[in-house]
């Protein structure tokens, strides 16, 4: 456990677990039965094939972060838990979205997308599929902007994060 307490409602924990079947169920089951709320969850293998990395964003209004961490630590398959402080980490999320885009509004939409740093994945007769990678707040903003066009289908990955190399993150 690094990083001191933060006043934010949402805290990002990076949980390194053994790469065995059922481990995600153990983590998710623990959150469910102890009444801890998960805001976002992302899981993938790491460079070490024996380990997976879970990035979980915890809503600490449901339970004190300290309890969440201590209970997680009791899971036998949990190897390490670190809290990533938002000021000292880089957080990213991927969004892909299919949005209404009549031909006369496409240029404007692509301008917004360029400014946000996103990509056009495909174009249909009256819709476009877009992708955007960025800090969660930028994804939130872009999602709000797209509502004005009409979202047809929408998927976010949940956030992943790494500690900053040095100094504050973005």
């Amino acid at each position: 456990m690094s990083a001191g307490p933060s006043k934010n409602r949402y805290h990002t924990l990076v949980v390194t677990v053994e790469n065995k079947f059922g481990v995600l169920a153990r983590v998710a089951g623990l959150f469910a039965r102890r009444g801890f709320n998960i805001e976002s969850l992302a899981v993938a293998p790491t460079d070490d094939e024996d380990l997976s990395r879970i990035t979980v964003v915890v809503d600490v209004e449901s339970a004190p972060l300290e309890q969440v961490v201590k209970q997680l630590d009791k899971l036998i398959n949990v190897v390490e838990i670190r809290e990533l402080h938002p000021d000292h980490s880089v957080e990213r999320e991927l969004m892909i979205v299919t949005v209404m885009a009549e031909p006369d509004r496409r240029d404007e939409l692509v301008e917004h997308l360029d400014r946000a740093g996103g990509k056009v994945l495909s174009v249909g007769t009256d819709a476009m599929m877009l992708s955007l990678v960025g800090p969660p707040a930028r994804i939130d903003d872009f999602e709000n902007l797209l509502r004005g066009y009409g979202i047809i289908e929408f998927q976010r990955t949940g956030r992943v994060a790494l500690a900053s190399l040095d100094g504050p993150g973005d």
């Binding site: 059922g22 039965r33 004190p64 201590k70 630590d73 009791k74 899971l75 036998i76 190897v79 390490e80």
Partner: protein, 577 residues
């Protein structure tokens, strides 16, 4: 050495020092039952898998060694979920082996298939589904290590049939006799932080109204002896929770007995009025604290627990000490011996305590001539007529509270009950398990009639396996504790709590199971019946004590009330608090 997985499993259990296991065979576990014939391990054949689990718990609590149970897949595995949960809540070390359908059949809804590891995930400290015969020895070693270290608890090992069946090539493995555990995420802490010990010692030196709040962790840590040193060095009064009865002798001047919902007035009130609570292996359970925001409002807290998650879970400690209770108490004794115990004059506190003890002893109205037998009287007679080292087990309900209240526990590991989960039917199988572990000791199961009907068939096991126990059945023809709540909190509207004093015929039922059965109706008959039961040591005995139905457990802190609102028996209502 070439071996099959089934033999390897039994061999691995032998190497862990297992002397007995409790179980019942079936399809998926069949191949493991064949090598049991040639094993040094005694197998006790139960009549229901729940019985196997509670027997393993009773064995573990009486001996301190892990209890082992083995059952088949599907319904057998679900039948043992209750004991797993019971052991989880009471931190009892268990290793439960379940059979599973062959690996290729998993996930196909095969006959007697259930997702055992999925179902038991929330009620075990850890569980394993073994998928390779070669992994069996390591998994067994890991299971025992996890069950018995850190905060003890139940571990389940699920074994698919094909990896233990010698007819299946998947069961082939090489026994090397030298396996290393692979638990990168499990590092139970044992040592303690010396600066926290010093901080706790400082609080103890200056406290005016300190209480040692002793929980089951003291028993798990085998810390009773050093606890006695701490008490005698510091002169601080002790309360022992339901899970810690016997951890400190009830006969000691500084022992106040059990706190909590049905604790005695002095133990409850002394905690409530304390300025320092030293919690040793206790978890601030709701049955102890009452309404948490009204609990011990003026007390600073020192909290010792091996499980870091207990520190601050319910009440924020002023000093938190993570570690083994024995190590922590030894360190506290050393710190107080070196730096002194302080010179606070606690005369006034001691006299308040002795005042409460004089005004609010545990009490009940004895039977007038011709009245029904009182359950508390039965416990007192049993207590006085049995050896001090008698092991007492209980089910859950009024009889459990009376047994805990009126027995005098002078030794650790003489009281075995279901505290956290509150599992009715616990007492008989737990008594059988305790007797297997301690064959030279007298074992009495104090039971209620509701509980008895849940697990009584294990008395057949006791007869056939020659494990003689004694059962004091407090038969009041009601689900007594539920009735007490309906009497007190539901305007005496009794809903679905009446059983029957005569059906079943408990004496005849006991006899049909090979036990000696007796029936006692009046107080005069009690001593002779107990004396007769105590003389029988070649089979189990059941005494059907037909007791008054309207007796209530007092004192009582109503659910949701603060401990300061403790309800005393009618005869003490006018006493000054």
């Amino acid at each position: 050495m070439q071996m099959d997985g089934g033999r390897a499993l039994i061999r691995a259990l032998e190497e862990e020092g297992v002397e007995v296991m409790f179980g019942l065979p079936g399809g998926a576990i069949l191949p493991v039952y064949d090598p049991i014939i040639d094993s040094s391990i005694r197998h006790v054949l139960v009549r229901h898998e729940q019985g196997a689990g509670h027997m393993a718990e009773g064995y573990a609590q009486a001996t301190g060694r892990p209890g082992v149970a083995m059952v088949t897949s599907g319904p057998a595995a679900t039948n043992i979920v209750t004991p797993l949960c019971d052991a989880y809540l009471d931190s009892t070390p268990l290793v439960v082996v379940t059979g599973q359908v062959p690996l290729p059949a998993i996930g196909t809804d095969a006959f007697q298939e259930c997702d055992t590891t999925g179902i038991t995930m929330a009620v075990t400290k850890h569980n394993f589904l073994v998928t390779e015969a070669q992994d069996i020895p390591r998994t067994v070693k890991e299971a025992f290590h996890i069950a018995t270290t850190g905060r003890p608890g139940p571990v389940l090992v699920d074994i698919p049939k094909d990896i233990v069946d010698p007819k299946n090539p998947r069961s082939a493995m090489e026994w090397t006799g030298d396996v290393e555990m692979d638990l990168p995420g499990y590092h139970p802490r044992t040592g303690v932080d010396q600066s926290a010990i010093e901080a706790a010692a400082d609080l103890i030196r200056t406290a005016e109204r300190p209480i040692l709040y002793v929980g089951g962790g003291v028993l798990k840590a085998r810390a009773s002896e050093v606890l006695r040193k701490l008490v005698e060095l510091s002169g601080i009064h002790v309360v022992t929770t339901l899970m810690a009865r016997g951890a400190f002798p009830d006969g000691h001047d500084l022992c106040l007995g059990m706190p909590g919902m049905h604790g005695n007035f002095t133990a409850v009130t002394a905690m409530q009025e304390a300025d320092l609570l030293v919690a040793l292996g206790a978890r601030f359970d709701d049955r102890v604290t009452g309404r948490i925001d009204g609990f011990a409002p003026g007390a600073q807290i020192v909290h010792v627990d091996i499980d870091a998650a207990e520190l601050g879970k319910v009440r924020r400690p002023d000093v938190a000490i993570q570690g083994d209770c024995r190590v922590a108490i030894e360190a506290l004794v050393a710190a107080l011996a070196a730096g002194g115990v302080g010179n606070v004059d606690r005369t006034a506190w001691r006299s308040r305590i002795s005042g409460w003890q004089e005004r609010f002893p545990l009490t009940y109205e004895p039977s007038a001539p011709g009245d029904r037998l009182k359950p508390q009287y039965v416990i007192e007679q049993l207590r006085d007529a049995t050896p001090e080292d008698t092991i007492v087990t209980s089910g859950v309900g009024q009889h459990q509270m009376w047994a805990s209240q009126y027995w005098n526990f002078e030794h650790p590991y003489t009281w075995i009950n279901s505290g956290g989960l509150g599992t009715m039917g616990f007492s008989i199988p737990a008594a059988i398990g305790a007797k297997v572990g301690c064959p030279d000791r007298m074992v009495w199961a104090v039971d209620g009639d509701g509980c008895f009907q849940m697990t009584a068939q294990e008395l057949v096991t006791s007869t056939v396996e020659n494990i003689p126990i004694k059962v004091a059945l407090l038969n009041n023809s009601y689900l007594g504790m539920v009735r007490q709540w309906q009497d007190m909190f539901y305007e005496e509207r009794l809903s679905e709590v009446h059983l029957s004093q005569d059906v079943p015929d408990y004496k005849a039922w006991a006899e049909s199971m090979g036990c000696v059965g007796m029936r006692v109706d009046s107080p005069e008959e009690v001593p002779a019946a107990i004396a007769k039961a105590n003389e029988i040591d070649d089979r189990s005995v059941v005494i059907d004590f037909r007791v008054a139905a309207d007796e209530k457990v007092f004192p009582m802190v109503p659910s949701g009330a603060a401990n300061s609102d403790i309800v005393v028996p009618p005869s003490q209502e006018d006493q000054e608090r």
